[in-house]
């Protein structure tokens, strides 16, 4: 991937998140552009099953709900990770991030996440044999791509607290 990256510092201590992606299900129209933008940005391919967020749609009643990492203060995923430095925190955004170079694909993080019942917040990427999750596009100049593509403001990038 040739996306221009901005530099980031890594924190090894668990500090609170600085930013999160806040969701408004009432504004979600179910178009799922966010999923595709996410997978194209991170994986270079268009695929909802490799997206780091998930839109659940009930098309009969027009109800949509967004599933995305909450960047928990006490991230169970990180605590469950058995490999040193396979998960880290970006200092600028506070994003909880999987280091794909070090991930051994054990899946402990995905099982530990209390919000991952649909296996859509922390997913397995079979192409790379790693687990993937939202990293707040911490190396992207304009912030999270999903927020930028959302046509109706259902996603917003906000300070934590």
């Amino acid at each position: 991937m040739s996306f221009s990256r901005i530099s980031s510092k890594v924190s090894r201590e668990i500090t609170p998140p600085k930013f999160i992606i806040s969701i408004d299900n009432e504004k979600c129209t179910g178009c799922r552009s966010c999923e595709l933008a996410c997978s194209i940005f991170h994986e270079g391919i268009s695929s909802p099953s490799l997206s780091r967020l998930n839109i659940l749609r009930d098309f009969i009643y027009g109800e949509n709900s967004i599933e995305i990492c909450k960047q928990c203060e006490g991230p169970e995923c990180m605590l469950a990770c058995p490999v040193e430095d396979a998960m880290f925190i970006d200092e600028k955004t506070g994003a909880r991030i999987i280091n794909e170079e070090k991930c051994i694909a054990c899946g402990n993080c995905a099982r530990a996440c209390p919000f991952n019942e649909n296996s859509s917040i922390i997913r397995y990427n079979p192409n790379k044999n790693v687990y993937i999750k939202c990293d707040l596009c911490y190396f992207r100049k304009d912030g999270p791509i999903c927020v930028q593509i959302c046509p109706y403001g259902a996603l917003s990038y906000v300070s934590y607290r």
Partner: protein
């Protein structure tokens, strides 16, 4: 790397249950996808006029290279085959639907499905990650489209996408649709009945695959730029909101197609509208033609069964799987006319009264189930019904333009779209030379000029015309019969491109804009400014990675259009005479009074001269309206030229 296509087309013969696969790239480089590939397949495999309900008819579902990508409204699918709605002789044509089904088919590993034959018993297909199941549909047969989808989702999972038919398709209603979700439908052509004739109730798809993007970085940049550009139009609200008064009906924001960031139908979803005739709650999308079910005061469609009654009728037609456009612009408007003229006052003892929700409800039921003599006739579509019942034939041209299709953006048949003279002269050329109502994928000129002329100055429109068509006469009010073949051809090719990539007709091509000073659409990118009409080309190139020039892409669209014409010539002896059959319809006075202050009608002789010009520009013979052999060869259709020549159909 080649992106866009996922590589395989699935073939299923329902008679033998034989399944096979074909390499998409065999067709893709010359015919792109969608409508283009379908035309190539039809040329090879539908070699004579066939009964649309015979097992040999093909039902082709085809996506395009942009389907399933982030390109706006990329969830669309083209459906092609010999269409039972076409009157008097069913022939090969196309329809197209939104939703999310097309994307999912690609994630499941297929660019398209070609269905042939007829199953002995009702079946449905379940296609998931390269696995194909032909399953018993005993429990689904007879169910409406909502229930069919719910049953399949319960069985195979909530993420499955389903395209299916309702009772109308099962009962071979010639105006029946293939529907996905609550209102997305391949509506025109009667393809629901083709599916019904094959005993195929539904096609469910689920995939965890992906679509490759050749240049993901620039593609994302293009998508973000076009997202911004899409909110600069005048006919699409920038930010539609919910109406507090409609909260009682559970109004919701719901989009129509996968990856669509256009706002055209967002606030047209209602999730809890109480039924009037039947108890219970109705839910669904209520867009495009649907708001005409309850009627609109001070328009031609001023009937009034009330919002709830109209909504109930709209949802019911989607559940039965009947073509809403045909119902409103055709069937129901014609029935009201018959009542007004005293020709037909009752249907099976029930008075024709469009203010009565029960009349809508019962008539829809009669059509879907072919109940009674009149219901059975209406199920055949308007022109056939008039013939069968031997009534109201003289009023058919008030509503139906040609080929068994009701009018659309022509100033006559549909009496709601504000088109005026001389804009409909281009419409007349497009109608004359197509195989169906051209405007489900060609709103660009007819709606564009009609609607933008109310927002921006004519001078700006003339300048943009000069830029894209080569002359301001293409839109000039003072030159009605000059320079109209050029825009007709330009837009016919754009329609082919949209239907082959596939992109949404409401979103492309980008021509006019409120964001630029000269009102010509353009976007800024890191690779420079891209003019509005070139956006599709850049999408195609960025996703597929093919090194192709703009001229080459234009040539492919011209090739596809000529191939469709060749199918018509070989299978139906199509000629100029058939094209001119549209003239009497346009000799009726237009419905709206345009900016010139009076109602106009078509001048036959001047129009014939325009047709001369059209054929000449196309490289077609003026006498016969058929492509010259050298034209076909120049377009890379040498085999087509040889076959037509051998049959003595062209020189």
């Amino acid at each position: 790397m080649i992106g866009g296509w996922v590589g395989k087309i699935l073939r299923i013969d329902l008679s033998t249950q034989k399944i096979s696969f074909e390499d998409t790239m065999k067709y893709a480089k010359d015919f792109i996808g969608g409508r283009g590939i379908a035309a190539k397949i039809a040329w090879e495999e539908i070699k004579s006029p066939i009964d649309p309900f015979s097992p040999e008819n093909l039902l082709i579902f085809m996506t395009g290279p942009l389907t399933g990508t982030l390109a706006p409204a990329s969830g669309r699918t083209i459906v092609c085959g010999v269409a039972p709605q076409v009157y008097p002789t069913p022939w090969f044509t196309r329809s197209n639907m939104g939703g999310q089904w097309g994307s999912e088919l690609k994630y499941a590993g297929f660019d398209g499905i070609i269905i042939k034959g007829k199953s002995e018993k009702p079946v449905y297909l379940y296609i998931h990650d390269n696995e194909i199941e032909i399953n018993d549909a005993k429990d689904l047969w007879g169910l409406d489209t909502y229930s069919t989808q719910k049953m399949i989702l319960n069985k195979h999972g909530k993420d499955v996408k389903v395209a299916c038919i309702g009772p109308a398709g099962e009962n071979l209603v010639r105006i029946s649709v293939i529907l996905t979700e609550t209102e997305n439908a391949a509506g025109q052509g009667g393809f629901g009945a083709v599916m019904g004739s094959k005993n195929l109730k539904a096609i469910a798809v689920k995939g965890s695959g992906y679509v490759k993007i050749a240049d993901p970085e620039f593609f994302l940049e293009l998508c973000l730029a076009i997202k911004k550009e899409l909110t600069t139009t005048q006919h699409i609200p920038i930010k539609p909101s919910l109406d507090p008064e409609q909260s009682i009906h559970g109004q919701r924001l719901q989009n129509c197609s996968h990856s669509c960031y256009v706002h055209c139908c967002l606030n047209h979803f209602y999730k809890s509208v109480p039924g009037i005739v039947s108890p219970g709650i109705n839910t669904g999308q209520f867009h495009c033609i649907s708001p005409l079910f309850p009627g609109i005061p001070n328009t031609y469609y001023d009937w009034n069964p009330g919002f709830r009654g109209g909504f109930e009728a709209s949802v019911l037609s989607n559940k039965y799987g009947i073509n809403q456009w045909e119902l409103i612009i055709g069937t129901f408007a014609w029935l009201r006319k018959l009542k007004q003229e005293g020709i037909l006052t009752h249907i099976d003892g029930m008075e024709i009264d469009l203010n009565d929700p029960k009349f809508w409800y019962m008539t829809l039921k009669k059509i879907a189930y072919r109940e009674g003599k009149i219901g059975n006739a209406l199920a055949e579509g308007g022109p056939r019904a008039a013939e069968i019942l031997n009534i109201g034939k003289e009023y058919i041209p008030l509503f139906w333009a040609a080929y068994g299709y009701t009018g659309h953006w022509d100033g006559r048949g549909d009496k709601i779209n504000p088109i005026f003279y001389p804009v409909w002269i281009v419409s007349a050329i497009q109608w004359a030379t197509d195989t169906r109502d051209p405007f489900s994928s060609s709103h660009d000129y007819v709606a564009g000029v009609s609607m933008w002329s109310k927002v921006i100055k004519w001078e700006d429109i003339y300048k943009i015309s000069e830029r894209i068509y080569g002359s301001s006469k293409a839109t000039n009010l003072e030159t009605p019969y000059e320079y109209k073949a050029q825009p007709a051809i330009w837009h016919q090719h754009r329609s082919v491109l949209k239907d082959s990539l596939i992109l949404c007709d409401w979103a492309f091509p980008r021509i006019f804009s409120l964001a630029t000073e000269d009102h010509y659409a353009r976007i800024e990118t890191s690779k420079g400014v891209i003019e509005g009409p070139l956006i599709e080309y850049y999408f195609f190139k960025t996703v597929t990675g093919l090194d192709i020039s703009k001229e080459e892409l234009d040539k492919i669209t011209e090739r596809i259009f000529n191939l469709e014409r060749a199918i018509q010539i070989r299978n139906h002896n199509r000629s100029r005479k058939d094209d001119e059959a549209i003239i009497p319809y346009f000799e009726y006075e237009e419905f709206f009074v345009g900016p010139l202050g009076k109602r106009e009608k078509l001048d036959r002789e001047k129009f014939k001269k325009l047709l001369d010009e059209y054929y000449e520009l196309r490289g077609w013979d003026i006498e016969t309206g058929r492509p010259k052999s050298e034209k076909l060869i120049q377009l890379g259709l040498k085999d087509v030229a040889l076959e037509l020549k051998k049959l003595g159909l062209i020189n």
